[in-house]
Each structure stands twice: as structure tokens, then as C-alpha cells.
Symmetry: C3
Subunit: 293 residues, 3 copies
């Protein structure tokens, strides 16, 4: 019963079988692990599950290099018939990702801002529309863009530690989350929670994030990877084709909105970030961060 306008997403043959996928077609090129500067990728071919571990010290901030590597890794997995799901987690203690790298938005050229923003959009578009099952195993704090990565996943598990917090806290920095951050947030926690949280730039400690539905499940730190694997197995038990079409149906409106306004959104970002008042604020914020550390 394919709804009108749903794009064909089918990479997988329809199968009743819940058994491990037996990929059809020619034998696959071996693909077990690859890594680049900022992300470690491991693929377990027997389960079809990859893990992407963010390893960009000190805080996995999303700079242009990270975003580029992220999208390349994701595309590799997306096109790899041995891969059906991906778990996102951090290789750095206490932090999942600190979000967009402010140095990319400060004192750079218009061209740089455009390139950076396009990379942020690209990351969001690929994750939110991924054919793979995507699970965030949030093992540390995850503000702003870090929270966004988690929001794009199909399921979010977080370490049950009130010292780890998560949220779209852009307003606290004097900036505004773009409309597609907001749309993803509203789709997850509903309009009222989103309205209040975004205006106050709330960072929720893990237990509170769970109460509001921003996080689906809390687990002790030592159980995180095990739980992520179990959740993944549950999602992979479904026939890929039907699951993918359903996911696309749920997310299409919000995805289409950015696709339709992508260039406009880049121009908006550039003109906002280029304001002297904003530049000054970001510089002050960076000073504050330096003093802190």
C-alpha cells in the first residue's frame, strides 16, 4: 500500500524470513573495518551492523573535516549490501558530540560559511533519510548539533547518568536553531516540549531527556553497546523494504522542506552569521570556553 509520492527506497528484497540476511547478487567485496581521521567504522558482516565511533578530540565537534568524513563513511555503508544498520557512538569519554564547531562560523569567508553549512545540511539529509536502521548510543553529553545527530536516528539510547546532558541549546548561545533542526525536534518530542525547550535552550540531564521522549531508553554505561545491539536486532527483524518505505513516509514532509529551501537556507545562515553582533557573541563565547578549560 505505497502512499503517493513515496520514493522507491528498496535496496533489500522483500522477505518474510527473520533469519540473517543472505545477500543476493555477486559476492561482496570484503568490508570489515575502515577508518579515517575522525571516525572509526567497523562492520560486522554476520549481523549486517556497522558501528561508527566518533574520535575527534577533544569533544567531537562537527567541523568541516568531521562532517565530510561522516558523510563519506555513511555513503560507503549505505551502498554496502552487507550493511543494514549502523550504531553511532563516541570513542571519547563523557562526550558524544559537542555540536557544530564554532571556529567554522567565526572570522571565515562567505564561501567557507556556505561550504560548512552545506555539509551540515548534507549530514542531516543523509541521516534522516537513511535506508539503514540508525541507532544512537549516546555515551556522553550531546548539545546542539550533537543532539541533532541523535535526533536523526531511528532510536536513541543514552547512558543513565545525570551528568550527561542533551538538547538543542542554540538559544543559550544567542543563535537560533534552523527550521529543520526544529522540525526534527517537533517530530520527536511534540510541539509544546519543542517550543519551550528551544526558547530556553534547555540541556536536559539524561533522565529528564528520557522523560520527555528525547531519549527512548536509559541504560548503565557498561550495558550501552549490548543494548544498542539488541535494539538493532529487533529493528532488523523487520523486512527492510517495508520498514524503509514506512520510514520515508513518516519523514518525507520534513526532508522535502529542506530540499526545497536548501540554497535559501544557506544564504540565511551566511547573512545571519556574518553580522558583526553575532561574530562578537561567538568570539566572546569562545573566550569563555577557553578560560573554562
Amino acid at each position: 500500500f505505497v502512499p503517493p509520492g513515496v520514493l522507491p527506497l528498496c535496496r533489500q528484497p522483500l522477505a518474510w524470513s527473520r533469519a540473517r540476511r543472505q545477500p543476493p547478487g555477486p559476492p561482496l567485496a570484503p568490508c570489515r573495518a575502515f577508518s579515517n581521521n575522525k571516525i572509526l567504522v567497523e562492520l560486522d558482516e554476520s549481523s549486517g551492523v556497522a558501528t561508527m565511533k566518533f574520535k575527534s578530540p577533544p569533544v567531537n565537534s562537527l567541523n568541516l573535516d568531521f562532517l565530510t568524513e561522516f558523510c563519506i563513511s555513511l555513503e560507503k555503508l549505505e551502498n554496502d549490501r552487507a550493511c543494514r544498520g549502523v550504531i553511532l557512538t563516541s570513542a571519547i569519554p563523557k562526550i558524544f558530540s559537542s555540536g557544530l564547531d564554532i571556529t567554522e562560523m567565526c572570522g571565515k569567508s562567505t564561501e567557507h560559511y556556505a561550504e560548512f553549512w552545506r555539509a551540515v545540511q548534507e549530514m542531516w539529509l543523509r541521516m534522516y533519510s537513511s535506508n539503514m536502521v540508525t541507532v544512537a548510543a549516546v555515551n556522553g553529553s550531546s548539545p546542539a548539533g550533537g543532539c541533532l545527530i541523535a535526533l536523526t536516528c531511528d532510536y536513541r539510547i543514552m547512558v543513565d547518568n545525570p551528568k550527561f546532558s542533551i538538547g538543542l541549546n542554540e538559544a543559550q548561545l544567542g543563535i537560533v536553531a534552523p527550521f529543520w533542526f526544529k522540525d526534527t525536534f517537533v517530530n520527536t518530542v511534540g510541539h509544546r516540549v519543542a517550543e519551550r525547550s528551544l526558547q530556553l535552550g534547555f540541556l536536559y540531564p539524561a533522565p529528564e531527556a528520557h522523560r520527555f521522549g528525547l531519549i527512548d531508553e536509559l541504560v548503565p554505561e557498561e550495558k550501552l553497546q549490548e543494548k544498542a545491539a539488541a535494539v538493532m536486532a529487533q529493528w532488523l527483524a523487520l523486512p527492510d523494504h517495508a520498514r524503509q518505505l514506512t520510514k520515508s513516509m513518516m519523514r518525507k514532509t520534513v526532508l522535502d522542506r529542506l530540499v526545497a529551501h536548501r540554497e535559501e537556507d544557506i544564504q540565511n545562515f551566511i547573512s545571519f552569521i556574518s553580522k558583526e553582533s553575532i561574530q562578537k557573541s561567538l568570539r566572546m563565547y569562545m573566550e569563555m570556553l577557553k578560560k573554562k578549560s
Copy 2:
């Protein structure tokens, strides 16, 4: 304060009185009970409440005959000025309705698929836009299309038995719930619960369905009809005209979407269901069901 674009739905005169409706106009034709092959209908003229009992063994599956009789019965009640509300329930133990009849989607002609799908649409359109108060008294399991019927009602009461489950589990069968199933579901449980439930094809045991808001109220089996009557009385205490306009205002966007894309939706269904891979899956599923029983 009628919002723009709301259709005139008024069959009832506006009345402050909470007392039993005194129908204006000429005396009514007697209408106490009628039944057809698959549905028993009883109308209590003193309360204005009809009960439609599904009686299509073994599992009240929604085949073309059932859907046709359902729509005819519903239309009769809708046009009967003595009837203001209808309670839907099952005459078969342990099952409310098993949903769309798979035999209608397997090995049939294109014309048959079109006729069947139009009947499913018709059932949904009539129920979701009904001028009557509609209460689902869910006294058994209610997967897929069975769940949809419950979702179209104004209120859902379910027997408090974890052995009875309910949900839109299409993805488990390798098929995709159409967009209007999804819209109805989102309107009831919100975007996030719908996204997760539809992708996983979840069937919720009654208590869990209640926790997520898919079911409004749980009662012991022996209290079900009594509770349904009490709920109905509460809804009928409101002036029909205002209640109907309000209901229409809440559901119009979603109703209009199917009306605008009805033929397209039929064509989509036909081309999806006619695929050899889907036919094969449905055959395998029916085999499995046969072995089970």
C-alpha cells in the same frame, strides 16, 4: 464561530438541553434491529444509540462483503434521525477484527484489487467523518485494519487483557500502511510513537496500547458494554451540531488528503500488490497462518 472551510454537517438542531433528544419532523419509521450476513445491528431508540456487532467467523476479517455491509449499515444509521451514536464491537470471542482479508489481495484481478481498495477507503472515509458519536468497544485482538477501525472512532475502550493486542503491524507482513492509516495514527498517538510503531509493525498488548494513548480506557471484559454505554451518554450530552462541527474541524485536513488522492492511492495499491515479490510474500504468510490453525 465556524472556521473557514468547515463543511456543514448539521443534522441536529442546536439544543442546550442535555435531555434525551426529541427528534423534530415527521414520525420516524420503526428501526430497532437489522442484520445482514456479517454484522448485527441493534438500535435503542430511547437512547439513540446503535450497536454494530461484527459476526464474520472465524476472525472478522475485512473482506469485500464485510466492508460493503459495514458501509451500508453505517449509512442506514447515519440517515436515521433516531440514531445519534454507534458502538462497534465483536460478536466473536477474543477477536475484534483481524484486519484486511489477505485473500482479497492475492491472485485476483486488477479490477478486483481496485474494487476492494475502494471499499477499504470508503469504510475509513465514512467512519472518520461520521456525524454520529463512534465508540470502539474492543473485546479482542485488533491488528492492522482492525486497529484502523478503532482509530476512526471518537473513543476507544478495550478489555484489560494483555492477551489481546492492537496495532498497525503491516510492516511485519512486508507491506506498508497507506498514508491515511498513518495520518489517523499520528492524530491519535503523535508523530514519534507512530514512527516507531509503524516501522516495527508493533502489536501492543492492551495495557501498553493504553499507556501510549492508542486506547483511551481499559475495563474488565464484563464491564465493557456498560462502560461503552456510559461513555456514549457522556458524548451525547453535548449539542450534536457543535460537536459535529468541532469533529469535522479536527479531522478535515486528513480526510481531504485522501479525497484529493483517492484514485492515485488505488493505483498505487494495485501496482504494489501486483508485484510478484509481494504476491509471494502474501502466499507464504497465508501458508503460515494455515499451519498455525
Copy 3:
């Protein structure tokens, strides 16, 4: 990251500082308190917080005079650079506001209905789009239009007393909440709760309103103003510019809908309210109220 289409709302310079705002520009005209016939307004210049106290006995009903004074007071504050937030509360015991004044809708001329309805729209448009932080300190019952005022605020605190109730109970009066009341309600409590509550014209006792998210927080009566001030301080800790842009982004769709259909909505109101059946109902309702008191 300004989303496309967001209007520039900026009255405040961007500031990292959480400290008390130091208003730039020429010295301010003194503005401490002003009042008119129906509303007491006090502005604490040191905190930037104004309080608007409704004082229109017996029940703060929203007649044309009240609405006019409300909008004038609000505009004054909105344009006053010393004012960043406003707390709405009642100076009359046990009632916040009884909602739209029925006498304005009964036995009046078409011109009067149009003027009245435009004033109701104006109040909603100004409140829902206010640049200021708006907190409702609900210290009494608040049906219909009274509930609407609370819904337009950024945050709702209510006295924890089950004798005080709140809700959009229009259906109980045989009338229909306009689409923009409905949109505001859906944005606050979600589609399902709104659908059920509006059809049944529910008035929720404060504790239940809190459970459904219609009210954000309950406090003992003697703590209400203190809590409102504390909440206000929390919201004012954010940079105004980012908070305002975020608020606008969240509410724009719903605001634009009324702006686009404003005249149509007035005509709809006039033709609905002018019906003899509606006039009769409203007269009966007023009789009932008179007998009660």
C-alpha cells in the same frame, strides 16, 4: 541560523550577558504604573517585568472595552524598552477570566459583531506573537476565551485548587471554537487531547489540566506570584533576540493562518452568530447564568 520566512523581531541587542539588561539608546520615559478601567498595569523597571491584572468585575469577561484596553496596554509594554516580559493575572478572587462576553454576541448589529470579533482576533494575534516573555499566573477559573489567553502565553502556572477549572468549553454552549483557538490548543496539548477536549467541551480541574499539559505547573495560591517571577527570570536569562526568533519560528504557521483568513473568519463569525437558533441558545444560556447568580 535564521529559518527562511522568519520575520525580524529583534528589539533587543544580542547579548551573552545574563545580567540585567542595560537598555541602550536615550534615557527612558518613566513608566512605572498605569491603569485603565479594566486592567491594572505595573512595570518593575529594575527587572523589566510588567504585571497586567484583570479587574473587570464580576468575572473579567472579555467584552469590547476589556479587549480594547488589553491591546492598548499590551502595545504600550511592547514598545517600552524597559519592559521584556509580562505576567497576566487576575485581581478578582476565584476567576482568571470567564472568556468572551456573551452579551457582545447577542442581539447586536452586524457591525458590532464584526468590531467585537476583530478585537478578539487582535488580542490573540498580539499575544501569540508577542516579543515579550508572557507568563499566565492563573489564579482562578478560566473557561473558553479565558483559557485562550492562557494558551497564548509562553508558560502557564495555575493555583493548585481542583475548584478552579480551565478549558475550551465552547461545545458545551452549542458553539464551536474557531480554528485558531483550535490551532493554539493543538500546539499545546497535541492533536488527540485537543480533539477529545474540544468535542466534549471539557473544563479541567487544575490538577487534571496539569496532567494533560494544558498547565505547565501547579502551585499553592500564596506562592503564585513568587513562582511567576521566578519563571520569568528564567526566561529572561536568555538573549532576547534568539528567544524571539525561536518563538516566531514555532508559532508562525498558526499565526499566518489567521492573518491570511482574517476577514473570512469575521464573516463566518457574523453569519454563525446571527442565526436565530444560535441567538436563542445564547439567550437561554444567559437566562441560566442569571438564575444561577
